[in-house]
Amino acid sequence: MDIFLSRLFSGMTAGSIYVLIALALVVVFRSSSTINFAQGEFALFTTYVAWWLTERGLNIWVAIPPIIVLGFVMGALAERFLIRPVRKRDETAILIVALGLFTGLNGLDGWIWGSDEKVFPAMFPSGEDDYVSVLGARLHYDSILVWIFAAAVVIGLTVLFKRTSLGLEMRAVATNPESAALCGIKVGRILTISWGLSAAIGSLAGVMLVPTIPPGQLNLASMFQVLIFASAAALLGGLDSVKGAVVGGMVMGIGLAMINGYATFIGGSFSLTFALILIVVVLVVRPTGLYGTRRLERV
């Protein structure tokens, strides 16, 4: 029982991170109907900045607000100056610009900070003894912290989309940009805000990701896997659904923890392959995911 619980806890912690990145993908998809492949690398860049700030002697908690702002600015600038000019052209152009951002940011991290691993400071005491015992399983404080943050972002986004006029405008743009523009909504501004918001969520996820997922160190490849898991999560839940991102992220996190824990007969880690298979199966069987809305296409 205690082993099961500890696997459940670690799955939920990893799942919370996937939920956050999946939410970042969802926010972009809802507004501009594209997947931002550079999402993970935005987050990695701000995480490196956070690491650099803490190296300068700043407390990690003090470093979080500025990097969230930085994430927002990066996302907004990328949308305004790189994505928007090619938005009207075709889907492939947007994807290629996003891939350019992907390698560019990854290379920039390596250029500025080097490719060796960085030890990221813990946000919360996370030593051997910093846990509460739940039915014999250890529940570390930093796990609880990640859950709280993820829950806060989910609630915040739900309120934003359902209760504010900005959220209403975002939903309008997502449904039909032309009609939204005719109603007097500044579509461009909404898109810029969406990208900024999404990158800001990613920044938050980045800071929490590194301390919680072993080996607890920051390197240039830290975000590749997370992006794949989060994409699988977002697809599973439906790319335009906040609820879907939460369910999908948790299923991915807990599911992978259980598979790697119990299905030892497969031998070794097959997490990415499972994510790949899940992505293919979801897309082939049910492209809208669990909670996504069906999109119609006129011939």
Binding site: T34, I35, F37, L82, P85, V86, R89, E91, T92, A93, L95, I96, V97, L99, G100, L101, F102, T103, G104, L105, N106, G107, L108, D109, G110, W111, G114, S115, L220, A221, F224, Q225, I228, S231, A232, L235, G267, G268, S269, F270, S271, L272, T273, A275, L276, I279, V280, L283, V284, P287, V299
Partner: protein, 361 residues
């Protein structure tokens, strides 16, 4: 190899001071083609007597050009954006590696094997493309590219896992008939890669110029219109993806012979796949010599960028160039040059011979 001569004419010859018109198959056209061929042969011969390091760079150019020709079939012509072609590259390389090291095959014989393996896997990966398009397919290939090193690590008894796999020098001995000794291995690999590149480019040229190529472009431009013109989209997409993977697999196989040691976390990661795609876009999607130009960029940009700073500078430069190309010349360098040259010279198709007993329309 020189693109401008072979690009289809767009504007009809105008009566005013329009571009100079050259008829395909005419004397001027033949002369230009001849000059192009002679230049190509000179460059290849020049490469043949270079010192080992620079020759190795050219070998790499040839290998990446083959890989990008493969990617071009799927991404350039039929519009299936693949981010994870590094997996095919790696699969080809590991096919050669495993067959040579574990089963002591002749390296040359592993090229067809890599082709077949990658063709089959390409067809399988292409299957979802029947229902998945654009963005979503890119995501599937992305996941395929990320998952590949993990799969390699899993079969570590075959592939050496995370430690990598080394092909012994002795096992890569050039065949007797080639006349190269073991010490001249780099020369042998150079000539092998050049010959394979020429064959691949020739096949791609024929494929693209023919009925199949036109069907591919039709699918890319408008699937619904293509389907209503009687093109079987399902067959087109899946075979194109399979062929694309197979060609890139051949490049991987040659890469294994060139480099001699395989390391999945190093050579075949997602970043390698994105690099192939960047090479294609910079060179020119859906152009026949674009992959060659792209391969030059893929090999030499990191080489010269290394002088500016740490190794990652190349990635930043690539990103800048890529975004610049997307904004300024969406058809890539070759496409951009071809467009500029068309203002000066256009090539018109040859006049079809009038068939006997039928009316020419």
């Amino acid at each position: 190899m020189l693109e401008p001569k072979t690009t289809p004419a767009q504007a009809p010859a105008s009566t005013k001071r329009g571009p100079r018109v050259i008829r395909r198959g005419g004397r001027e056209h033949t002369v230009l083609l001849g000059i192009g061929a002679v230049l190509a042969v000179l460059v290849i011969l020049w490469g043949g007597q270079l010192d080992p390091f620079n020759q190795g760079q050219l070998t790499r150019v040839a290998i990446f050009a083959i890989a990008i020709v493969g990617l071009n079939i799927a991404t350039g012509y039929i519009g299936l954006l693949s981010v994870g072609h590094s997996a095919f590259f790696g699969l080809g390389a590991y096919t050669t590696g495993v067959l040579v090291v574990k089963y002591e095959w002749d390296p040359l014989m592993t090229i067809p094997a890599a082709l077949v393996v990658c063709l089959v896997v390409g067809l399988l990966v292409g299957l979802p493309a029947l229902r998945i398009r654009g963005l979503y397919l890119a995501m599937v290939t992305l996941a395929f590219g990320v998952a590949f090193p993990e799969i390699v690590a899993h079969f570590d008894d075959l592939t050496g896992g995370a430690e990598g796999m080394t092909i012994r020098r002795q096992q890569l001995r050039p065949p007797e008939w080639s006349g190269f000794t073991l010490g001249e291995r780099s020369q042998w690999v150079y000539w092998l890669c050049v010959v394979v590149l020429l064959i691949v480019m020739w096949i791609a040229h024929n494929m693209v110029r023919g009925r199949y190529g036109m069907a591919m472009i039709a699918v890319r431009e408008n699937e619904i219109a293509a389907a209503s013109s009687g093109i079987n989209i399902a067959v087109m997409k899946v075979t194109a993806f399979g062929v694309s993977g197979a060609v890139t697999g051949v490049a991987g196989s040659l890469f294994a012979m060139y480099i001699g040691s395989l390391f999945a976390e190093g050579s075949f990661t997602l970043l390698a796949g994105i690099t192939l795609l960047i090479g294609l876009v910079i060179g020119g999607e859906a152009t026949r010599s674009g992959p060659l130009v792209g391969a030059l960029a893929v090999v030499f940009v990191p080489y010269y960028a290394a002088e500016l700073g740490q190794g990652q500078v190349a990635a930043v430069l690539f990103a800048v160039v890529l975004i610049f190309v997307i904004f300024v010349a969406p058809a890539g360098i070759v496409g951009g040059i071809a467009k500029a040259v068309r203002k000066v010279v256009v090539v018109t198709p040859r006049i079809p011979r009038k068939p006997e007993g039928t009316q020419q329309s």
